[in-house]
Symmetry: C2
Subunit: 493 residues, 2 copies
């Protein structure tokens, strides 16, 4: 389903990209067939590469064939793309073989890449000449305007995390908030929500959030169901994949946007879209208000196939409907039904609380997981005391299903903060994201497990994304909760 | 050395290219990773390819990686590019691996290719979708205007040779007369001379010949020596490679051009360039007027390392200086010195005639070759009777070094015609070029040996050029010497 009015609004908000030129000197020496050089741009960028090839010897009489491989982290270059046999497409690997017809000339590679490192390998020149790499030109692109970032005096590790977060967000901010500029380069609702939060504290490009909200509203599945992600090319088209939690996050993202922007027109436009999701998801619950996970379909919650997602699903619904009530009130709508429903679902959620273990359990196996506790706390199902008790006991439960992704860690930090455990949140944030920083990360990663830093759910590190939006929130936490001078949040609703 | 006046003239004559669109339907069925299709455009073209990819399944969520290999003849596709280890660059092999970021979309390949066949192989899509090839669009380019070709009623094999010749020439006619649109895609003097002759009988693009003459004159080696070939990109620059015979052919090409066009301005501009070559090559002869092959440097004559080129060199000089005298006379210059020199060199040439065998011999080994006889005859060193005697006896001399290339065969046909053996010329032409036609050639090849049709001097057929300018002259012979109504040659000089 396409809503042309919404899509036109989204199109009008398409940002111009800022461009930054970074020039590296080449080796400047003649290269033989088979020879290679690795260039380090010093940090991570999203952008385009041009390579200025000269030559030594006679005038080149045959094209130059070379390969160029891009890497976000140095370790990627040690992996052979041909050796990747995982379940996602090898087409994500950023490696090209290029025939350059004219030498000397500047070879413009047409695709956009996400990288810090570039390996150029000469495959075939001719007996007449040896190619020389004279210069490399990187045109970095982003829709983030660094001049908008409020000045905050961070020092030490705070400064490190703030900078890496901002770089992560900046390199994901293109014509939409992309999840990762290497992979999937796409607008996902779950990532958008976190990016928007970090954006409000930094680049403050509210229009880009607005554009993304209209994109989701402008291309929906049958009956108006919001997709989990949107394709931009060749034209705006939602994926046919839905996720229960991602659908609901549209509500939170709109509510956050309105809180930041005060943009009533957008709120009015999109409030019916939120209500539509509420209506469509009604049939995912039984008569007692408990989620039916078969009917709910896929719930993301974390990159974890082991995790039972019943409790997370129940909690995310509550978390979203709390914001839906705020939105509807602001639009002057009657919220009685919503409030009654919220009460019933909250009561059902409390039935998942197990007195014996003092934990929320999930699914037929009564699984205890970090994610379930965190989402119940974010949804304010347990009161503050119980929340604190849960969070303090959680590390002691050895067989609790752990968190896997920075996305899930974000919610852990938020849950600690919401429960008043700001010091613990600060420590946990520094331990987790600081672990990536200690490994030399220029941008925060899609996946990070402190015990296995280079793990991949895709069957190969080479397809992991090392600049991933959902990992960018330390800047949000630091600036919102820990900065000397707290930035203005705008009015509450 | 650059002559900016000449180069400006050449630049002003740069032709606009004619474009023809050829559309093929794709298979239209979803393809798995590893699956491939071969498309046949029905004939040979020089141009650009666009591939319209659709998909079946879910919206593509990852780039499409595919390879595309272009082939002038079907046999090329049976050869693995990785298996080529010959002495010229593998970079000539027309094969690309492409990552297409947007599916569905029309993928424009930026390089120009020479091909009839295209093999597309799907390397990596994703689990979400299977690509579908919907259409292929070929934009064929040439600077040959088919509307200019004089109508001549050929039938049967004549018609076949005429058409294949014209297609060969047409696909080599780009911004200059290229030797081959697959390889080397470059302006060579030896090829230019023959292309110009075929062009005058067909597409009659005299300006393109003029442009090429000015290009050679505009970029020369030290002291004004003409190079054997010119690079056009990134800027006009002559190769540092010279060939004795190719240098001299500038004179014949200019003379032919003037004969066709009557363009006195160009003749006056370039007559000094011709004289300069004459002066520069003086030191390649001993005091008796015999060529010193060490001083002459490389003489091409044929694609044949076995061939001793002394006799050919001596003869080509005479052949060129005959035209130089015509040019100088037309410019009102005194030609006494040239005529005396011509007499001396012709007398020296006759010293290479061996009474015992009735053949011209070449080099310290007194080698007898077809090429030596042909060039002596074209240079009018033997009189007509002796020429005929030589040409009739030649096939009986079993150990005479044979002809290897269509380039050398052209001169054999011309020698037969000049000697009045028109029927023999006609038969030989049909046997040789007809042999390629019988093998299904759409365009005539760089190399053809009737006994080993698929031979390569490069260590692999995959880098041979199968649309090669120097092979395009049957149309010249047919139209000039065998057509019912002979086209007007313009005045003689």
């Amino acid at each position: 389903m396409r809503n042309e009015y919404f899509l036109r609004k989204a199109e009008e908000l398409k940002p111009a990209l800022f461009r930054e030129e970074i020039v590296l000197d080449g080796e400047g020496k003649p290269m033989e067939d088979g020879e290679e050089v690795i260039y380090d741009f010093g940090s991570h960028y999203t952008g385009y590469l041009r390579i200025d090839f000269g030559y030594e010897g006679h005038h080149p009489d045959a094209p130059l064939t070379f390969s160029v491989q891009f890497a976000e982290i140095r370790e990627e270059l040690d992996l052979d793309p041909e050796e990747y046999h995982g379940w996602i497409s090898r087409s994500w690997i950023q490696k090209e073989t290029v025939h350059l017809d004219v030498v000397p000339s500047v070879c413009q590679l047409n695709r956009r890449y996400a990288f810090r490192y570039v390996r150029i390998r000469i495959l075939h020149a001719s007996g007449n000449y040896r190619p020389v790499i004279r210069k490399l030109f990187l045109t970095a692109v982003t829709s983030a305007d660094s001049r908008n970032v409020p000045a905050v005096q961070f020092t030490g590790d705070d400064l490190v995390l703030d900078r890496i977060s901002q770089r992560t967000l900046r390199n994901c901010m293109q014509e939409v908030f992309e999840d990762g500029p290497k992979r999937d380069r796409r607008l996902w609702l779950g990532d958008l929500r976190l990016q928007a939060l970090a954006n409000y504290q930094t680049f403050r490009n509210n229009d880009l959030v607005k554009r993304c909200l209209y994109l989701f509203a402008g291309s929906t599945l049958d009956e108006g169901r919001l997709a989990s992600n949107i394709f931009l090319e060749p034209q705006v088209e939602c994926d046919d994949q839905t996720m229960f939690d991602y659908t609901l996050f549209f509500i939170n993202t709109l509510c956050d946007y309105y809180r930041e922007s005060g943009d009533r027109e957008t709120l009015s436009d999109l409030q019916p879209v939120c209500m539509r999701q509420y209506e469509l998801l009604k049939n995912c619950f039984d008569t007692t208000g408990m989620i039916d996970t078969e009917k709910a379909g896929r719930i993301f919650a974390d990159w974890n196939f082991e995790l039972d997602k019943q409790a997370c699903g129940q909690a995310v619904w509550i978390y979203a409907v709390r914001d839906l009530i705020r939105i509807c009130r602001e639009c002057g709508e009657d919220t009685t039904e919503l409030e009654n429903d919220l009460k019933m679902k909250t009561a059902a959620a409390m039935r998942l609380y197990d007195e014996k273990t003092g934990m929320f359990v999930s699914g037929p196996e009564q699984q205890i997981s970090w994610a379930s506790q965190i989402w119940m706390i974010l949804a304010e199902v347990p009161d503050r005391d119980l929340s604190e008790k849960i969070l303090r006991r959680l590390p002691e439960i050895k067989d609790a299903v752990q968190l896997n992704s920075p996305y899930a860690y974000h919610h852990y930090i938020q849950a600690l903060i919401n429960t008043g455990m700001k010091d613990e949140a600060y420590t946990a944030m520094h331990e987790y994201w600081g672990g990536m920083a200690a490994l030399g990360a220029d941008t925060f990663w899609e996946l990070y497990n402190p015990e296995q830093p280079y793990v991949s759910p895709y069957g190969g590190l080479i397809v992991n994304s090392f600049c991933h939006a959902w990992s960018c929130t330390p800047t949000y936490f630091l600036r919102k909760y820990y900065a000397e001078k707290e930035p203005d949040d705008g009015g509450d609703i």
